[in-house]
Amino acid sequence: MSKLERLLNLTAVLLETRRPLSAEEIRTQIEGYPPPGPSFRRTFERDKDELRGLGIPLVVERVPGTDPPIDGYRIPPEDYHLPDPGLEPDELAALHLASLAVRLEGLDDTEAFWKLGGGAAPEGAPVAPITEVPSHPALVPLFSSISNKQRVRFRYNDTDREVDPWRLDFQRGRWYLTAFDHSRGEERNFRLDRIDGSVVVDDVRGSATSEPPLADGRTRHSWEYGEDEPVTARLRVDAVRADWARRQLGDDAVVADDAEATTFEVEVRNTDAFRSFVLDLLDHAELEGPPALRDDLVAWLRAVAAR
């Protein structure tokens, strides 16, 4: 009796049972366990850990009619079985090619493709990898809470937040979360790398009650992620860097355009981040307003010039 055989039998029995089975029932029904005693308990503990480690949703419930209560075990089929996504062969192949071209850091997707019906990579020219998208410890818990509509808690900018996660965006090499912030009573954006400590996910599915708006497909900028009072900044960029700035800021931000320069208007919630963007253009740009932002920039430059 191999361990693999015992684990497969354990999974089959726990998937098939309608009521939770006690450890003793499991021991007598499945071959390969030691007699009752410490040795059995150790083996059974290890098997439970092994199943959970594989991602099998093993639940612990009271065995009906026991007093004092006895722990029972089962695997709810609805939590175990992957709903069939109904992928056509070309769609599965496209997923395969995508996973070769773009990888998420630290994740191997061999197993995911086994679950989707196997499939070695499609025949043909080898795919040149395009990039590896960096991961972050908060990424998987936040993704999971979006799928399950769970509320989450974390610390950000020295404040405890309680939010309904709506969307994850990867832009300019960073991960961002858009969420409804219950502590502020409005939609907020967060940079994942600024989350302080870990993300605590509410146990209850459906605890995120706010209705997420649809994404507008707009690229967001670092200066939109802040707590400053929003202001509209007006930036004039010389022709030599105007095309570059237009690609960064988008056509919608253009308010004036001639042979010498292009003028943009953008909303700023993070003065530090926007100043950094403007200074990257060196003397090829001028921040025209509002006066408060312009004064801040001039004071900054004077301090640097005086060193």
């Binding site: 089959a12 086994w114 196997g118 690229t219 570059w244 920039l297 430059l301």
Partner: protein
């Protein structure tokens, strides 16, 4: 590898393979083995365990039935394993990230197999729309990206008008694109540059214009290709910066010659200056987070004033 890891690894494979075999009665053993990336012997070894699996009382009629005939396989009575195990959140995320990223690469077909696959996948993962995760690899003119990729594939040369960030100037150069890739939110092309007479890395968003020549590349990538990220050498002057804590990212972001932590937690780093405009930008942006700038022996003394000079130049626009 320990027996414990082997059992877990095989378990994952068996739990995915059995549902597929159930759904494909009479499939050739060779085809099934290829699909799951294992040898036929490994597959037969797995099946040897599967036919011992079943429900109490483990009489023959309560066990999974495995039929092997003429190189084909049938599995019956495995209802409990009729579907594979759900994707873990990490597995689901990895698939969504890969496919969303590739589907939003400029020039991708919005009605192609990938967006359709992503749509179906999102549905089975409980996401109401694929818009809950959005991956943007970088800004780039779709036409320029497409032309660069086509040139890399066909090994032909192109001419580009390129804004050099380090020199703060635009040049026209002829390059042989080798590989187009994304990193940290920007697109790059690794190429042979005839102007520099060497391998160079170009940022796609700084290509102002591109003209295809259709002529074959005179330089093809060698075994060391892909190592084009700039490595400073002895010719480049060095500066020492003392940085407040808030600017500690500089030590992680740029290649440093040395990093020293001072008593109050500030950092003293030595950096190679590959171009003046680069140092100007760094100092102007860091502002008060830079405590001091000094040049290392051999560097022009006025390099220490690069930040102040650049700030004065920018200030003239605000007089």
């Amino acid at each position: 590898m320990s027996a414990r890891i082997t059992a877990g690894h095989r378990m994952k494979r068996v739990l995915s393979m059995v549902p597929w075999l159930v759904a494909h009665p009479g499939v050739a053993v060779a085809e099934a083995a290829a699909r799951f990336g294992i040898s036929e012997k490994e597959l037969l070894d797995d099946l040897n365990v599967v036919w011992l699996v079943g429900l109490p009382p483990y009489t023959p009629d309560s066990l999974v039935e495995v039929v092997l005939d003429d190189g084909r396989v049938w599995i019956h009575y495995a209802d409990f394993f009729k579907r594979p195990l759900k994707l873990t959140p990490a597995q689901a995320l990895a698939l969504v990230v890969s496919s969303d990223a590739l589907a939003s690469v400029p020039g991708a077909d919005p009605a192609g197999a990938l967006p359709r696959a992503l749509d179906k996948l999102a549905g089975s993962l409980g996401l109401d729309t694929t818009e809950r995760v959005d991956v943007d690899l970088g800004i780039g003119d779709p036409a320029v990206l497409t032309d660069l990729r086509a040139a890399a594939e066909a090994a032909t040369e192109v001419e580009i008008d390129y804004y050099s960030y380090n020199r703060d100037a635009e040049t026209t150069r002829r390059i042989a694109p080798w590989r187009v890739f994304a990193d940290a939110g920007a697109w790059y092309v690794d190429a042979w540059c005839h102007l520099a007479n060497g391998e160079r890395l170009f940022r796609v968003d700084r290509v102002a214009a591109l003209r295809a020549t259709g002529e074959p590349s005179t330089h093809l990538p060698g075994p060391d290709a892909g190592d084009a990220v700039f490595h400073p050498d002895e010719r480049h002057p060095r500066v020492t910066l003392e940085l407040e804590n808030e600017a500690a990212w500089v030590a992680e972001y740029y290649p440093t010659e040395s990093v020293e932590v001072l008593d109050d937690g500030a950092l003293r780093v030595v950096l190679a200056v590959t171009a003046d405009a680069w140092l100007e930008r760094l100092l102007v942006r860091l502002g008060p987070a830079v405590r001091s700038v000094t040049t290392v022996a051999g560097a022009p003394a006025d390099l220490a004033e690069a930040g102040a000079r650049a700030a004065a130049r920018v200030l003239r626009r605000y007089d």
